[in-house]
């Protein structure tokens, strides 16, 4: 599947707020009330981080589409997709650590919480992107990743 800009935005948003949301709620539970790795009373900030990953992603996607134009195939290989996910994660973490993300305060143990949360979301959303999403939306792959589209 070779993505279009609209397709990137739609796929990113849909996956983050379905698969990503379930994973985020899971971590909010185990970092918050369950208290694995020391209780974090403000575990709800993971939801805000998910929102910022989505928000910054809108800009990242525009950059990726621009870069796609330099490729003869006009495509975006799997390796790139996985690789840029790591870069995006590093940038969000940096902003998080510098307390530049409004409404989110960086605290003790947040590196590991971010690491597990972002890592899991990154892994499973990419896995869905390259597999099961095709089964749920048969027109998705023909429309550059647009979820809301006809075949």
């Amino acid at each position: 599947m070779t993505p279009t800009l609209i397709g990137r935005w739609q796929s990113r948003t849909v996956l983050l707020w379905t698969v990503g949301l379930v994973i985020t709620l899971f971590y909010m539970l185990i970092f918050g009330p369950v208290g694995i790795g020391g209780q974090a009373p403000d575990a709800s900030k993971l939801l805000l981080i998910l929102f910022y990953v989505n928000l910054l992603g809108i800009g990242w996607d525009a950059l990726y589409i621009y870069l796609q134009g330099f490729r003869w195939e006009g495509d975006w290989p799997l390796a790139f997709q996985f690789g840029v996910g790591l870069v995006e994660g590093a940038v969000v973490y940096l902003l998080f650590q510098l307390n530049w993300l409004p409404g989110v305060r960086f605290g003790d143990g947040d590196f590991w919480r971010f690491f597990f949360h972002y890592g899991t979301v990154w892994f499973w959303t990419n896995w869905c992107l390259f597999g099961p999403l095709r089964v749920v939306f048969p027109g998705w792959r023909f429309n550059g990743g647009e979820v809301i589209s006809k075949i």
């Binding site: 796609q68 089964v135 023909f142």
Partner: protein, 547 residues
């Protein structure tokens, strides 16, 4: 096989006598029954049901029918079955019971044996409407189960890094065919397929189509009727490439000499050539620089391991110093070959290029196709190594020029006179044992008698590429007949809304688009392939359960 047609006697044209009057006594001897083929009434574009009844030929009816019964038809039938249509309401008429039969012949002739890999993507899966799991994942799983962890890892790296970090993954031809066999059994292809050579298609006066087809199999003991008619409401046609393409000078040589052994097309059976070379050695001239030429070079280099006295002259019209350009990108070039993994840039199947082509005008489409297309081959390390070694060792040489004449010398060898241009303008003479034309297949619609007849009878519009013009949903506009609709897919639609029309994925896309259009038009039994249906149908596919 076919359900009885409730509307078959729906005659909308009165019989030629008044019902209130007694039939007049015949004044002449009764007219002879029309036994011509195709029947004389097929001279007209529209035929009444009454006329069909008068022919006294076997007539069957299904709501859906597809002509060709190759992989294009198979993809269409697969989309129909997954969307809820039963086997009793579909017929596929063609000359090969296996949907990949003709494709397989062409592939084998062009040197793709069972263990070789196609020029096709992992997710181009004619046996699976969703493209997941693709062939790469299935192959990784097979290798993993057999304990070949190294091979599984290599495949994983290939699918992960393609096309930039590694060679592009392509599936083995035998794996694709096995998967198609499996899907054919699942969707009941055996009940849908019917042997027949389609002679003509006409509209009927009641908003349907009639297909006239012959059922005589060449070289077999035929029983039963020789000709049949089939009525259908929704028709699909995917007849593939009409003919082999020959360079004009080679065509002229074959016509003049009747020598079909020394000058061959890469897509016809030419095994005799390799047997001869293995025994006696000799020089072969290869024409064309696409992927078929690469496969021929691979086979010839393999033959050199048995007999090193085999030489190859690769004749090319002109050098390629730079690859095609589009926007900010340029296609890579090495050793006079332009490289891309498939015959179009990847984005043409599913990305921005597909969308751009769809919304462009016919003239713009032609321009875009010429920018994205052209003759290319895949970048494969083994092929790069063959050309590198051949050039270095001298048994493979590239010559640039245009052919002036090909003639047969008294001892049976072929002499080609080549004219070179530019700063090295000269005349060269090259004497070879064989010439292989690897320039491809002929795609012009008029080369297929069935399509030529349709174009003639219905004044069908052609696109700037000389193929049949289709709408964005692959409907042939000139064939609309009341509620009846005709769709086309495959090579006959090149120049339309999709570039990669003759690929597995292109055929599947055309099938899904046309079936969706039919569903929106309220066609019989068709259900929307929404989220719920898609998931439940995929689960049936995974469990090998019929749709």
């Amino acid at each position: 096989m076919n359900q009885p047609n409730p509307h078959f006697n729906r005659v909308n044209q009165p019989p030629p006598w008044q019902p209130s009057l007694q039939a007049p006594a015949p004044q002449f001897a009764p007219a002879q029954r029309d036994t011509s083929w195709p029947p004389r009434c097929f001279d007209k574009p529209v035929i009444s049901i009454y006329e069909i009844q008068q022919l006294n030929l076997p007539v069957s009816y299904t709501e859906y029918a597809t002509v060709g019964a190759g992989l294009g038809s198979f993809s269409w039938v697969d989309a129909l079955r997954v969307s809820g249509v039963g086997t009793a309401n579909i017929v596929a008429i063609g000359m090969d019971a296996r949907p990949y039969g003709h494709y397989n012949n062409l592939a084998h002739n062009s040197q793709i044996p069972d263990w070789e890999r196609l020029r096709s993507n992992s997710e181009s899966t004619p046996d699976n409407l969703w493209g997941w799991p693709g062939y790469a994942l299935r192959e990784i799983w097979t290798e993993f189960k057999q304990g070949h962890l190294g091979k599984a890892t290599r495949l994983w790296w290939q699918i992960f890094g393609e096309p930039t970090l590694t060679d592009t993954y392509t599936p083995r031809i035998s794996d694709v065919f096995r998967a198609v066999d499996r899907e054919a059994i699942r969707i009941g292809w055996g009940q849908i397929y019917r042997y027949g050579r389609v002679r003509a298609i006409r509209k009927t006066a009641d908003g349907r189509y009639v297909i006239a087809y012959s059922t005589r199999r060449p070289g077999q003991n035929n029983t039963g009727p020789a000709h049949s008619l089939h009525l259908t409401h929704y028709l699909h046609i995917a007849v593939g490439y009409p003919a082999l393409q020959f360079l004009p000078d080679l065509q002229k040589y074959r016509e003049q000499t009747g020598d079909f052994k020394s000058v061959v097309n890469a897509y016809e059976n030419h095994d005799h050539l390799y047997e001869h070379l293995r025994r006696h050695g000799g020089l072969v001239m290869v024409r064309g620089r696409g992927i078929v030429a690469s496969r021929i070079l691979q086979r010839l280099s393999e033959e050199r391991q048995h007999n090193p006295n085999i030489g190859i002259i690769h004749l090319m019209r002109s050098p390629v110093s730079q690859g095609h350009r589009y926007g900010k990108a340029r296609r890579p070039v090495a050793n006079q070959f332009e490289f891309q993994p498939f015959n179009w840039p990847r984005s043409c199947w599913t990305g921005p290029y597909r969308k751009l082509l769809e919304k462009s005008s016919p003239e713009e489409r032609k321009k875009l196709l010429s920018q994205w297309g052209g003759t290319t081959t895949a970048r494969r390390q083994d092929w790069l190594e063959i050309t590198r070694r051949g050039l270095a060792e001298g048994w493979y040489q590239i010559v640039f020029g245009e052919v002036d004449n090909v003639e047969r010398l008294p001892e049976g060898r072929l002499q080609t006179r080549i004219v070179t241009k530019g700063q090295v303008a000269a005349q060269l003479t090259c004497t070879a044992e064989f010439i292989i034309d690897a320039t491809g297949l002929e795609g012009k619609a008029g080369s297929n008698p069935l399509l030529a007849d349709l174009i003639d009878k219905f004044a069908l519009a052609l696109n700037p590429m000389g193929r049949i013009q289709v709408e964005n949903d692959f409907e042939v506009p000139g064939m609309r007949n009341g509620t009846g609709r005709m769709y086309a897919s495959g090579s006959m639609t090149l120049g339309g809304p999709l570039a990669a029309v003759d690929s597995f994925l292109g055929l599947q896309y055309a099938a899904l688009r046309s079936v969706q259009a039919l569903q929106e038009a309220g066609a019989f039994e068709l259900k929307k392939l929404g989220v719920g249906r898609s998931i439940s149908q995929w689960l049936k596919w995974a469990r090998k359960v019929q749709p």
